[in-house]
């Protein structure tokens, strides 16, 4: 198994709301390797969004450590307001362009403004990102002309335009019907098959079937499959063959 790209090691995150303390993540440990598609199921207020924000380095963990490509994201999060997202992490957003007349190719290229100085190069990369999201036919469309599903594909293209190693998608199928959901999930799976690590949260179990690994989150507590637990055990405690019992 390859080395983890992202690892959360005993991460706890609390919020204080008035007199109440809310534990959004409760001793969560998780590892994702490149090319893995991991789906986390949780109902409302289970801690899903916090999990992704901590994994993105936008939110600082109170306890534990978050490592991304050997960088300590716990430290990154302290200055995330100034630095923004780590350049190798993509975040699936949902909002349309500020200018309604903007064409989707330009909109997808927007995140490249600060890093790519050559406009032609930016547009070339945006075209490639739209192709990765299987949305090449939407290049010249404006936001108002798109269906909900098409908007999601465009946002997917924008999330991957900087060629991230890790894509974070919080409830990427929200508002879509069964057919559109499957089309969106198949696109995420295709990105993983091409080598990107994808961490996604969903409020519906049937949305997890195209993932490699599934987990559940409730009350900030992450539960993984027994096999994954065992895999951890085997690494920690190599079984002895023969010899003394």
């Amino acid at each position: 198994m390859s080395a983890p790209l992202l690892s959360l090691d005993h991460v706890t995150k609390r919020y204080v709301r008035g007199r109440h303390e809310i534990v959004a993540l409760d001793d969560v440990s998780l590892e994702i390797t490149p090319g893995e598609f991991v789906a986390v199921f949780g109902s409302h207020a289970s801690g899903k969004t916090t999990l992704l924000r901590v994994a993105a380095g936008i939110e600082r963990a109170d306890e534990g450590r978050v490592l991304f490509a050997s960088n300590d994201l716990t430290e990154w999060a302290s200055s995330a307001r100034r630095r923004g997202l780590h350049p190798r992490i993509g975040w699936l957003r949902r909002s349309g362009p500020f200018l309604p007349s903007m064409e989707m190719l330009d909109y997808v290229a927007l995140p490249l403004l600060s890093t790519v100085s050559e406009p032609a190069e930016a547009l070339r990369r945006a075209t490639r990102a739209l192709a990765q999201a299987q949305a090449e036919d939407l290049t010249r469309a404006t936001w108002d002309e798109l269906s909900d599903a098409e908007r999601t594909y465009v946002m997917l293209a924008q999330a991957v335009v900087c060629e991230p190693a890790l894509l974070l998608a919080d409830d990427p199928t929200r508002g879509l019907g069964a057919g559109d959901r499957e089309r969106m999930l198949a696109r995420l799976r295709a990105l993983a098959d091409a080598g990107m690590a994808v961490l996604m949260t969903v409020p519906d179990v049937p949305d997890m079937l195209r993932a490699h690994r599934v987990m559940t989150l409730s009350d900030g507590e992450l539960l993984v499959a027994t096999a994954q637990q065992r895999r951890g055990d085997v690494i920690d405690f190599p079984r002895r063959r023969g010899g003394l019992a």
């Binding site: 499957e182 079937l209 993932a211 490699h212 559940t216 027994t226």
Partner: protein
């Protein structure tokens, strides 16, 4: 099957006659009708195991009726059952359901662990399904019904697991909250 242990739990809570235990059992687990025919064999079996003892007492109109009381062995057995993990793929209708109905605050930490084990079993099932080949998503401009139908069937296959996971999560959340409240009250009263 845990009707036996449910009946044992009720006898431990308060000794009684057979018919009365039958009524109490059905009050405790509403919407899950248990027939009288299941309760009497359970009582006999519990008595044979030495977990309850029976004696004759005068009932109405000087009729003698059988009175059931728990034994120390019975109390041990009941606590053991409460702490034993349920069959992992069992649905909430069986073991865990009875345990929830008959648990006291002291049993909750064990039951919290059991809801985790059951939820993990659900995750195992979903993960096994992810390893099966997935149907191609239908094209947006496709008029064929079959790919959509195949997909909907696949989605409905796992929908019941979501219900089960949601129930386990809700139950665990309430149990954890109860344990916390209980702990802080115990700490205050010291």
């Amino acid at each position: 099957m845990s009707v036996k242990h449910a009946v044992l739990g009720l006898v431990i809570e308060r000794p009684g006659y057979g018919y009365e235990l039958y009524q109490r059992l059905n009050q405790r687990v509403e919407g899950h009708e248990i027939s009288e025919r299941a309760v009497y064999p359970a009582l006999s079996s519990l008595a044979r195991s030495g977990w309850i003892q029976q004696s004759l007492r005068d009932g109405h109109a000087h009729r003698q009726r059988v009175w059931y009381e728990s034994t120390p062995d019975g109390v041990d057995e009941f606590r053991g059952w409460m702490g034993r993990p349920s069959d992992e793929v069992a649905s909430l209708r069986s073991d865990l359901r009875w345990k929830l109905a008959l648990a006291s605050v002291e049993d909750l930490p064990d039951l919290i662990e059991q809801t985790r084990a059951q939820e993990r079993a659900c995750v195992d099932r979903i993960e096994a399904l992810t390893r099966e080949p997935q149907p191609e998503p239908p094209r947006a401009d496709d008029f064929d019904w079959r790919p959509i139908a195949q997909l909907l069937v696949r989605r409905s296959d796992v929908a019941h697991l979501q219900t089960q996971i949601e129930v386990l999560q809700a139950v665990r959340r309430e149990m954890k909250a109860t344990v916390r409240r209980h702990a802080s009250r115990t700490a205050r009263s010291r």
